[in-house]
Symmetry: C2
Subunit: 186 residues, 2 copies
DNA sequence: AACCGAACAGACAAGTCTGTCTAGTCACTT
DNA sequence: AAGTGACTAGACAGACTTGTCTGTTCGGTT
């Protein structure tokens, strides 16, 4: 194998990811993935035995890319307080690029997929994000209006609320408001 | 007409509403609605010319019931501050009953329905809820850590974030945390 | 030279989807 | 008595769904 099976398998996952997010998982058919990825039907089922497997791979890939993007975004920003505020910018910027369709993970949960593997991945993603916030909070010498745990949850809730409302209003307004609110007790 | 066409039409909408929320709009077929509502196919299309019409009726009905329920919940609670905190209890209690499947409106938006009528209704619902919060905030003599607009947005964001996270974790934890956080600057 | 994994094209199964249409029943109104 | 609106049952169209299966090609390894 010249390139070890990478190209086709990746093209499948990239195409599926784009369609799952833009159109929704249930509204995306195998046929459309095959056509847009320009691969053969059997190739898809060779790499991903079922549509559910493809969904789980989508969640894993999104999780990885998400944190990779976050790390890259955080690189030039120094200081825990600055970084906490940058979290809002990160998500706002990302949502602008994604046309305010909301969080990948909450979207999948909202589609009423009862697969336990899906929930596990969604929870793992959010839990890791909360931990990321917490680690910054303990480093920051904030105003101590709230203890570390509570400040973490406040920021977490503001971030998630801002994205959720952004998806409904199709705009950055509430994510930006959330940031201004966060600034006032950091 | 003995009962003016009410029974069948309502049974359709009730059944559709339950299924749309529990299973998702796209995963609910006309056939299932017909079967579970125990009505004839032509009756459904007589009252709702298309599935989209049924969806819009579902959103309207949910909006109405939502605020009716809220009013009933608020009836025994006096004082604006108490009522602001009761908003958290209202949504937590409701989500418990709904098995933490999240906000009806954000769920529909997450299913990638591009109909403008859907967005209009979602925004109208959320806007009215924010206004409801605002009206209580101006009455409350809060600690003025934040001005009225900002306090409104904070509570709004905490509420929406709590429900969104509740749907992903399938539990009341973050909605309850959101309430405790709200108490600290009311 | 034989084999194998990865890719291709495309037919096929068995079921689902929304929406239309026919045909007929019943209760109420004019 | 004729007509109307709400309802029933169920056939039908045409498209789409996921997944299987056959058969072929090609590059690389043993």
């Amino acid at each position: 194998m010249r390139e070890p099976g990478v190209k086709v398998k990746d093209r499948i996952l990239e195409t599926a990811s784009r369609l799952f997010y833009d159109q929704g998982y249930n509204q995306t058919g195998i046929n459309q993935i095959i056509e847009e990825a320009d691969i053969a039907r059997a190739s898809l089922y060779h790499h991903y035995p079922s549509k559910t497997d493809l969904l789980l791979a989508y969640l894993d890939r999104t999780h990885e890319l998400w944190f990779k993007e976050l790390e890259a975004f955080m690189l030039p920003i120094h200081g825990p307080k600055e970084r906490l505020l940058a979290l809002f910018d990160f998500r706002t910027k990302r949502q602008l690029r994604l046309k305010y369709k909301g969080c990948h993970f909450s979207k999948i949960v909202a589609e009423a997929c009862e697969d336990e593997g899906v929930f596990d991945r969604v929870r793992a993603h959010k839990e890791r994000f909360r931990q990321y916030i917490y680690d910054l909070v303990v480093q920051a010498d904030h105003r101590k209006l709230l203890d570390n745990e509570m400040l973490t949850d406040t920021l977490f809730l503001l971030l998630e609320g801002g994205i959720a409302l952004g998806a409904m209003y199709r705009g950055p307004d509430y994510a930006e408001k959330a940031k201004r609110i966060a600034m006032s007790f950091l």
